[in-house]
Symmetry: C2
Subunit: 512 residues, 2 copies
């Protein structure tokens, strides 16, 4: 078989069965091979950042990589920002990039570029295929390199995809994540037994339901506080999932929240730092002198480590009372992010997935979403805006039976808006809520915080989004997604309730 | 003054007075400084690729750099694709990228990334500012590094923009481009005197009006053929500008066109190569054995070299008969790219600027546009799709008195569609024509050419854009641009005629 078919079959053998693509000439053999390898699902994105972000969302929900297929260096360029975000989420992604055929590499053609250099800042593994016969082995190695939570990039010259490549690469055994050494468990058990102002900081897979339940048993036994890293890939929440404290965005409230801590037990987490550095503020969030105990490194199995710790301490299983959603807000109150949060909490079904890129509205949404039925919360992990819609798309591809709700700012939604088209094409069950404040609102705050002074007339034109108004209903319809505008709480509740009862993509523009 | 103001003032002193930006927290001081440095025009883009592509378009029309202001590594990531295109266009661009404040660099914050590594593949010059006091000198160096036709990237930690930075950097003298040595002129004059199957290949600024007129004098005297490099940044055309032959996209017709040549005189050009490599085809386009004579290197002044050659040979000035536009097509014929080309040729005003990213429709447009009044033709230079709309935006910022016409495929327009919003915000005189064939049509051709076989059912879903239909009128309105759909020649002619008579942005979706 040719190289393209060999690559797709090797991916399949290694349980990678989704390929998000924006192909060009050098990738035509892969497109053609889809018809000979029907178990590989090809999904088209109209922009590369949609593909890379969707692979991130898919990995967060399945724990396994999707593949991305991109067109040479510049195609990879457009995908980099969401690959950066995927790297920060520790999402496994197998990134396939087509290259000119080898006889063409000697020339400075328009698309010639140093693809490896494009790939390196976001990839833990980069390899350019050196002969067609190595396709199977290299594709398997790419999957293996992605498993620990990495972007792996395999660059494939076009002639190696159209040449004979032999048999697909072998199935590789995905290794279980390591446990910490027993003495680590014993030492931290001792810390918890001694007591004091103790905390656990969860990140990675330890933020999923099982990890939260184990941490909660420790809390019930010892009174240790439990924090969730703010930029963790996926946090289980709502229903009877034990509630945890999230570290705030700005350093002052974060430092205040953590100010009394003597020790922090890190579970797949690193000591917390602020998002940005500011004049005359330290970037670390735990108080000076706080001792960090590493229960599990980022690459280790923090959930199993927590359960082991429970066993060591004899922490009993505990029932958790399910949070009770309140009613929906009534028509007499203004349409705010808080009102939207309460509506979603009341109406989102069990098992929903929330993709949260609401930026300045996110802090107001957050407390209300705690009262929703059990769900997964997927934040922006790497700070690069444009992650939210593609992550929602990827989550919907991963979980066709779950409702996906995508919270977006009107500023943030513009970066990778093309994701809506793929949601429509694939009939995905995503409800997009545009929190339309018609500004880069977060920048108003940051202007002050960075000491940049009041917003003058010229500065205003870099922050304001009112001239012209973004018409979200038109934009969504233009991409095939039914949309409605809500100017009041009543309109929002009605639109959201309808979206929860109908499958398929919807967009609601909420005028804040 | 603080570092941000120092940087803006240094840019101004060096004749850089436009800043295309998509700022974030680390760039707030620059946004704030716009109010203290009103001669610097700030223009907001809703996506970074819009800013970098607009800087390219601006440079092509003015010959001088604009600045781009981006937010950390991932913000730069989204700009890379059009910076690749700008690099291939040899457009000078001063690329300013904000970085975390230095005290924050020790931490692995969400947005932390190796910005220099992101920048290097597209930049001839990369520098991270090491202290605030070097801002003026470094900003001036960045402009100087851009002048020869480069992307120069200056990375500015946030604290250096809010700290005292001293006086702006000095004005630097932009050097004139070098002439070739006299013996080069004499040798090539001798080649032309001896005759044979000779040609001149123009690229760079030698494709502007003056270069074309000089080349034409040589043609009138010696019969030498004149070719334009296909991916040159800007070609003067139409009216009484001497017509030249453009090298076709696919290698077979290109090789056929050039097959009889014995020598090619390169003027700011390199030996021509095909866009992609294909099975069993060579990538070079001139016939084997063709001798290349370098009249001017890419960095040299090819126009002056051509004029010197004219003087050396005593080539007289020649009048050129202006091309006569035909009438507009009539209602009885189908709406095709050719009919659109004839309409534009008939109705586009003197001095129009054409941004051409029509991809599969471009070959059909091309011969008809020759009959338009004098205009500049700006093609995609680096092969990365998503260049056309931002280049049109930048050209309109550069030339507010000229009509800009942007030819886009419906596939290609989706990559950086956000450019429309900035066109509306800045009331720019751009008419966008979407050549809506509802496919990645070029890929149909490339499937066959790369030996990938017929388009199967799965492959079809990676090429077809009909499900759902992109509704361009809705999309444009969503971004504040008036739009209309033309299904017939009559509708297109009416819509285009109206657009030519009204200032401001318009979009016409032409159903092919």
């Amino acid at each position: 078989m040719n190289g393209a078919e060999c690559l797709l079959r090797t991916l399949l053998v290694n349980d990678v069965d989704l390929c998000l693509m924006n192909p060009g000439t050098s990738e035509m053999q892969f497109v053609s091979a889809l018809d000979r390898v029907p178990a590989m699902r090809g999904v088209l994105g109209l922009f590369e950042g949609v593909c890379s972000g969707a692979a991130d969302g898919y990995a967060r929900m399945t724990g396994k990589p999707a593949s991305v297929l991109l067109h040479l260096g510049p195609g990879l360029g457009y995908a980099l920002s969401n690959l950066h975000n995927a790297k920060k989420a520790r999402s496994p992604v197998v990134n396939i990039v087509g290259e000119h055929s080898t006889q063409h590499l000697a020339y400075d053609a328009p698309l010639s570029a140093d693809i490896e250099a494009f790939a390196r800042p976001v990839s833990a593994w980069v390899h350019t295929l050196r002969e067609a016969g190595q396709m199977g082995m290299s594709a398997a190695a790419a999957v293996e390199a992605a498993w620990p939570g990495n972007v792996s990039t395999l660059i494939v010259p076009a002639d190696y995809s159209w040449s004979e490549a032999g048999e697909p690469g072998a199935h590789r055994q995905r290794p279980a994540r390591a446990l910490p050494a027993p003495d680590v468990i014993l030492q931290i058990a001792e810390v918890l037994r001694k007591g004091g102002k103790l905390s656990i900081l969860l990140n990675g897979q330890a933020q999923h339901e099982r990890g939260l339940r184990a941490a909660h048993r420790l809390r019930a036994l010892t009174g240790v506080r439990i924090f969730a890293a703010r930029y963790g890939a996926r946090l289980s929440r709502g229903g009877n999932v034990p509630a945890v404290e999230r570290i705030p965005y700005f350093p002052e409230p974060a430092q205040a929240l953590l100010s009394e801590l003597e020790r922090m037990i890190l579970v797949e987490a690193k000591p917390p730092v602020s998002f940005f550095g500011y004049p005359n503020l330290r970037s670390t969030l735990a108080p000076p002198g706080c001792i960090f105990d590493v229960l599990a490194e980022e690459s280790q199995d923090g959930t199993a480590a927590l359960e082991w710790l429970c066993d060591e301490l004899g922490a009993p299983r505990v029932d958790v009372q399910a949070a009770q959603p309140g009613g929906v807000p009534t028509g007499s109150e203004p349409l705010t992010a808080a009102a939207i949060g309460r509506t979603v909490a009341a109406l989102a079904p069990e098992g929903a997935v929330f993709s949260d890129e609401a930026v300045s509205s996110s802090e107001q949404l957050w407390p209300h979403l705690a009262y929703a039925r059990q769900h997964d919360h997927l934040p922006n992990t790497g700070g690069s805006i444009g992650q939210g819609l593609p992550v929602a798309l990827g989550a919907a591809l991963a979980c066709p039976d779950r409702k996906v709700i995508s919270f977006e700012g009107d500023g943030s939604a513009m970066y990778t808006f093309q994701a809506l088209w793929t949601m429509a094409r694939e009939s995905l069950d995503v409800t997009v809520i545009i929190m339309a404040n018609r500004r880069y609102r977060i920048l108003d705050v940051e202007m002050t915080r960075t000491g940049s002074g009041p917003v003058g007339n010229q500065a205003e034109r870099m922050i304001d989004l009112k001239n012209p108004l973004l018409q979200w209903v038109d934009l969504a319809r233009g991409l095939g997604v039914p949309a409605t505008q809500a100017a009041t709480v009543e309109e929002f509740v009605a639109a959201f309730a309808q979206a929860m009862h109908e499958p398929g993509p919807k967009l609601i523009e909420a005028l804040l």
